[in-house]
């Protein structure tokens, strides 16, 4: 499983980082999402999905294949 961010949509709310800091961080320049661990382990799936659903911009999605080409 892999999570991807659309940086054109991301506005730096940082809700993803708050909900799952193991996978998401934010940069120091714009405060936008940085995916520290795109291919996350299964034990984090529930929290990654929660982060995706809590993005107010709808900027995150889970890709089905490891290449991110869902």
């Amino acid at each position: 499983m892999k999570v991807v961010v659309d940086l054109a949509r991301c506005q730096g709310h940082a809700r993803c980082e708050d909900l799952c800091p193991e996978v998401f961080a934010t940069d120091a320049v714009e405060g936008k999402c940085v995916i520290a661990q795109p291919e996350f382990p299964p034990e984090l799936e529930a929290r990654v999905r929660l982060a995706v659903r809590n993005c107010p911009e709808g900027a995150l999605r889970i890709a089905k294949s490891a290449t991110g080409a869902a």
Partner: protein
Amino acid sequence: MTLHFQPPAPDHVPPERMVDFDFFAVPPGMADPTEIWHDLVRQGVPSIFYTPRNGGHWVLMDYADIVEAYRDHTVFSTYQTPVPPIEPFPVVQPQGVDPPEHNVFRRLLAPLFTPIAVRGMVDELQRRAAGLIDRFAARGQCDFIADFAARYPTGTFLHLFGLPEERLDEFLALASTFFRSTAPAERADNITQIYAVLDALFREKQASPGTDIASTIVLARDANGQPHDWTDILNCGFLLFVAGLDTVTNTLAYIWRYLATTPDARRYFRDRLDDPDAFLRGIEELMRINAVSSLFRRVTHDCEFRGVQLRRNDRVVLPNTIANRDQRVFENPQAIDLDRAVNVHVTFGVGPHRCIGSHLAKREVMVSMQEWLRRIPDFELDPAQPPGAAFGGSVMGFDSLWLRWPPR
């Protein structure tokens, strides 16, 4: 019933979309002024309606439409939007300009307010909150607004702008007039005073810069290596002054009133003082339910939006409190659920103008709650004092909140 509007409806507004609604008018005795918005929902007003009050403006009532307006600056501009209109009004930087011009000052300010930057301010925020609370904790009583909620964000502003603590009362007075005065002459005079203070401040920082935000703004260079236009610099300072004070003050006031009347909520946060992730999740719910701000937009050109004819320069009001309780988006939206799993509230807006200070604001709320609950774990409304008078407008609240607790 025939409604006699003054002034009459513009001719592009169909009668079925007319509602007589003044978002500044709060009936006497109403404790929560945001209820005037929720009354509209209960009355079943159209999801897009027009009121002739306050210069005339549209109101969007659906989460999806409010979000769309926040995102689409090609229709819903932030340029000179005050409701009721104030003209001329400063072109505040960067909030009052649309992309791509918006990016210039947004990029300049963004690094100063990222989550990383705000984490670096936590010690200072804690020290300030603790210092204020320690002044009255032993007394067993305070007016939360005068003694804490107004002083805390204003003190933070002074710190961020590299200004001495001695100027707190001066800035409190400037902010108080700006946010509460309705007398046109006093308002105009107040804005002139704020600009004079900012002008002197930026000149001082230009001559002897520090590491504060004012210095960063005044020292910044544009794409051609030149200093930014002086008017833009002042307008940026103005935005930072007005955006982060009243919003935080009234959000704190709402939260403390809720805590004072809800022992379970006090316990919830007390039990999580050492678990910042859980604490923060609870705060997101408090931010959703206590959305004190409504934002303004101005229509850029004649167009149709969701089948409604909009005209260039029409004002549009976006009530966050309404978006945040849209039942199509939030499960059981009127309930305060501190463990709410999915919470895409728009208290800080969405899109390119998402509140740049949101991380600082949330941290101010979190630190205030932590420092308070460690010192004053239980408190209640003071029955010997009258409830504060509620006020409406773009930022809603009430003017006092007397609390009491067992003195130490």
